[in-house]
């Protein structure tokens, strides 16, 4: 038997999107947009330091027994449309909810008049369940950040997400 050891890990995900930083910011922070790509839960942000963040379950998630709030956290830093720092914890099941809050930093940098670069840095301390889900390594996680960012790029560039909308 091995002792439980503390683990700190940082994961970085980056995508270039043909869109202005303002559009990308809106797509990240408003429920109308987050309901259209990735896992499609409407996200509610109180965009000020100390403000509440939560992603609500959509109908599909509820049908699978998800709680009303599926991701929770707190806004730490806000600098629209360039930088958003927040805590982040999944609540789909008890194993996720029992892990400590993780930390997500969103950075949006304009690369040209047409293209911006979105970088998501996810810091996870002692959160192995979260880690396996967000990297897209496990099938039950459904693709993690690579899937979310690919879908966001598709939606902003083509007007449609990768999967047809319910």
């Amino acid at each position: 038997m091995t002792a439980t050891t503390a683990t700190t890990t940082t994961q970085v995900f980056r995508v270039h999107i043909k869109a202005t930083p303002e559009r990308i910011w809106e797509a990240i922070t408003t429920p109308e947009w987050t309901a259209r790509y990735g896992y499609r839960g409407p996200a509610e942000y109180d965009l000020k330091p100390g403000g509440t963040f939560r992603t609500m379950a959509n109908e599909g998630m509820k049908a699978f027994g998800a709680p009303d709030v599926v991701v929770e956290g707190e806004v730490l830093e806000v600098d629209p449309p360039r930088r958003l720092v927040q805590t982040w914890r999944l609540l789909f099941d008890a194993r996720q909810a029992a892990e400590p809050l993780t930390r997500v930093t969103w950075e949006i940098e304009p690369m040209s008049a047409e293209v911006a670069r979105l970088t998501v840095t996810h810091e996870l301390d002692n959160a192995p369940v979260h880690l396996s889900l967000i990297t897209g390594e496990t099938l039950e996680g459904g693709g993690g950040w690579p899937y979310i960012l690919s879908d966001l790029k598709s939606l902003l560039e083509t007007g449609t997400a990768l999967m047809s909308e319910p």
């Binding site: 890990t9 940082t10 994961q11 970085v12 995900f13 980056r14 995508v15 270039h16 970088t119 840095t121 990297t135 897209g136 099938l139 693709g143 950040w145 690579p146 899937y147 960012l149 690919s150 879908d151 790029k153 598709s154 990768l162 999967m163």
Partner: protein, 107 residues
């Protein structure tokens, strides 16, 4: 096929660079010195390979104090996957992948 895809395929078409990605997948956020110590290659050689991976977007670097840390970015591979494997074929492909895994790892 876009220019970005060309860079990804070119970057992946080399065993040393795939080894570097595997290393970062296993333990992310490595310094050049750490990566160099695990390869029988000059520092300059490792830097050259990392540069190709960075240009393809497969490696992202961050500064942490005086150190430059290298992180694996899986998103470009996902973009290629999403473009060529549509949602119908994916199910068949994953069934085949499952079968392969099962046949290769009888337990």
């Amino acid at each position: 096929m876009t220019e970005d895809d060309d860079l990804v395929f070119k970057a992946l078409a080399d065993p040393t660079r795939r080894h570097l990605l595997d290393r970062l997948l296993h333990r992310d956020g490595a310094t050049l010195t750490e990566l160099e110590s695990e390869l029988t290659m000059t520092r300059f050689g490792v830097m050259k390979h990392l540069r190709v991976l960075e240009d393809a977007g497969l490696v992202v670097t961050r500064r942490s104090g005086r150190e430059k840390l290298h992180f694996l970015n899986p998103v470009p591979i996902r973009l290629i996957h999403d473009r060529w494997i549509d949602k119908y074929t994916e199910r068949q492909v994953s069934a085949l992948a499952d079968l392969k895994a099962e046949l290769e790892n009888p337990s």
